[in-house]
């Protein structure tokens, strides 16, 4: 089984932008891995002039929101650091039963690494997730900077989304057979940095060792 690892370009975000950025990226990835019957929902980003697509499953949306919230909480505790979120897709395979092993094993066949560089907010309302600081920032220069940053981030985010589409199209052979009719056809897991800074990286290394070497880095 091929194991594909896709590493997306790093995005420089402010705290209040994390949520929307991750929503766009995660939902776009999951939508392409939702091979069950999908009722797509077009969602306009609250911050960016971008419309992304959800697969229309409340459970999926809830799970993603929870992970995003956890990630934001981690970022707030560890400001000004690069951070990474990983979404992994698995395949459940039956294993020969033995008294000391499980009957099934979970094989990771794809991982997406989302890299964010969280910068400190340049505006007093930077902690807000939804308010646009442009409206309240008194400094014209700051407004211009914010505007430039937003435009730059939006452009980069759009590029990342296109990159996801490109990767999804280029790499299809590693996708395991669909074994169920769930909306998201494969078990998936979203990994965020744990409370200790180093454990996330170690965890990733462990996972990569367990699942074999990445066959593709981008």
């Amino acid at each position: 089984m091929n194991h594909e690892v896709f590493t997306l370009n790093e995005l420089e975000v402010e705290n209040f932008e994390i949520q929307e950025v991750l929503r766009c990226i995660l939902h776009t990835i999951v939508f392409h891995r939702a091979l069950g019957l999908v009722r797509p929902r077009d969602i306009d980003s609250e911050l960016f002039d971008i419309t992304y697509v959800q697969c229309g499953d409340p459970d999926v949306e809830k799970k993603l929101e929870e992970k995003i919230d956890q990630f934001i909480a981690w970022v707030e505790k560890h400001p000004n650091k690069k951070s990474q979120m990983c979404i992994s897709f698995y395949e459940i395979k039956n294993k020969q039963a033995a008294w000391f092993t499980n009957k099934t094993e979970r094989l990771c066949w794809e991982q997406w690494f989302i890299n964010l560089s969280v910068v400190s907010s340049k505006s007093p309302t930077g902690k807000s997730h939804h308010l646009k600081p442009l409206a309240v920032d008194p400094s014209e220069t700051a407004v211009e900077e914010m505007s430039a940053h937003r435009a730059s981030l939006e452009k980069s985010l759009r590029e990342v989304l296109f990159k996801i589409i490109t990767l999804v199209n280029e790499k299809k052979d590693h996708i395991p057979p669909v074994q169920n009719q769930d909306v998201v056809s494969f078990p998936y897991e979203i990994t965020i940095p744990s409370s200790s800074d180093s454990s996330f990286g170690m965890d990733m290394i462990k996972r990569m060792l367990q699942t074999g070497h990445p066959t593709m880095l981008s």
Binding site: A34, V38, Y52, I165, E170, I175
Partner: protein
Amino acid sequence: MASPSSSHFESARTEQIISEFFLKGLHVILESRVPFLCSETHRTEQGGLSSSSVSRVRKKDKWFMLAIGECSAASEILNVWHKNAMDPLVIDVVLVQEDSSKAQGSDKEIGSPMKLHSFSDTFTSAQSTSYWNVGEEHFNSSSKETSVKVLERWVMQYESLKSSTRDHLSSKGRGSLGFGETVSHSSDDPTASTRMYKRLILLLRSLYVTSRLLPAYKLFRKLNSSNQSYNFGISYRVSSFVEPFSRMEEREMTNFRFTPVDTAFGRLSLSVSYCTVLPHLNIEDSTSLLPPIIVDYVGSPAADPLKRFPCGSLPKSVDKGYQATSFPSQGIRSSYSSPFQRPHSWSSGLSRCGPPTYSPSPPLYPNYSIPYSTLSDSHASTSNVHGHRVPPCGHHNHDQSAPISYRPSSQKKGTSSEELWLTPPFSPSSSPSPTNSPSCNPLLNRPRFGSSPVSIPLGRNPGCVSPNNSDPNKLLLPPPSPKSKRPDYSNRDDSSRGHATHVSGSQESPSPSRGNSFRKNDALKSGETYIGSTSLQTNLGQKVFRDSREDSGRFSGLISSSSSPRFGFSRSSSRLSLQDDLDDYEFTCPFAVDDVDTIDSHTRLLAYIIKVPCARRAEMQHYMDTDMSVVHVSKVLTFKCVSKVFRTLP
């Protein structure tokens, strides 16, 4: 090694999947570009399906596991304009912009736009292969210049492999074409089509996401969500050839090519060229070009088509107790008597033949409803008669039942588990099985879209005898629907056509004609009508008369019209009344009326595709000349007749 029959079967199966991909791909594109064209998808504002429809899964939705409803406009466009599925399907999304404030030379500002009138010349030569829906009537007014610019060009193409190449690949078992994906298909590989289907699912997912990411989507959203009118609009052209861009256009375009999907018999490629930077658009209100959709719009001078459509030859037939028809005798007669004012490749009506929606807002009704209510003007009473929700009738029930192939219990020995979940919802009863298909290559004669999903699932149709039935593995993948099947209009699952056919009987009266006459009178009171010999202005859409006996889709007539945004119109009643009359004439083919209408923010058009046997056309002509008009219009009627349509008449 695959036997010839199984190979043929696989080929047919693959080709139906490809055909369905074309349809759904076109649906996704049009739905996200042309306002209100695919409104029958019954989405909420955020794009999700309305809650009441969530529980319903239609068979059409199961194709590629993407529940986006149905766009009858896309079906019709493909049926008419892309009959040969081996041809490329080129969808140009065009920006139509009013240039009133600019000198003609300044058109370069948005690229190298063509003057709208120049399309006539273009279509004279190309009308047989391309279809425009640009609402010319909107731009025909006064001295204002209108320019058109291609914003996006989507190209879908299925290239069939030559048999020698295919044999070579099959002998190698797993090979590569050197481009695209690895070819791992062979004709006897039972999972090949499943893998291919899965890849197409992914490709369609990508297409869906991409369509939302491209810049033109912003314009669509702006037009689709606002009641304002703008001095620009989005339209589209469907053709089967790629018209080269000018150098200037090429410089502005970015190309995005999706990874092609290879099958055992060919390769499906998809690409989009799009303008990275949208031209500067004036988003100020502009009522002259694209009138806003407002409640009392009927009385608006700006909406008066006569002012925008100076057709001197248009006679008026007002207040005669009945009003002009959507497919009036005058329309047909005019086709013989005089040259057309416009080529029918402009057939805006066809493009708007999709959703029967008269509301500027997203459809309020879930699946199986005809969302053409919400009219608030005085004519609304007419259309509101039909504006309520239409319960699924007849064949709809089939759509709601999950195909047998999706059930785990239907798994057969030797069938891979994936086939259980990723099986295309073929329609066995309608499929052109290799033994009964008149054509060796179904793609060369595209199955009529929309026909397959409504057919009875395999196993429930004892009358379905196809070679694959004997093969447990193939039981899950019935052969494609035949184009020779019964006209799909009569059994399409939840198309507006189907609704319209049953709406009166199911909701009001078992006798459609009674209800019709009542509604007709209502409608007749509701507006005045102008009937023209060559161009009849109407607030209905255009109508397309087609020969139903064959699949060629030749037009026997086409009358198109522009519409005023707010009006009440009883579409189904008119059609039904016509059908009643036609029944008297013993039409061999039940006057299959394909009425799919749509609304965009600027116009409301109805399109009727009427399938009339050639032999009966004369009778119909006579009927339409002498009998009362059939379709009611509230305000003004415009009929655009196209020469080609009538050249086909006997």
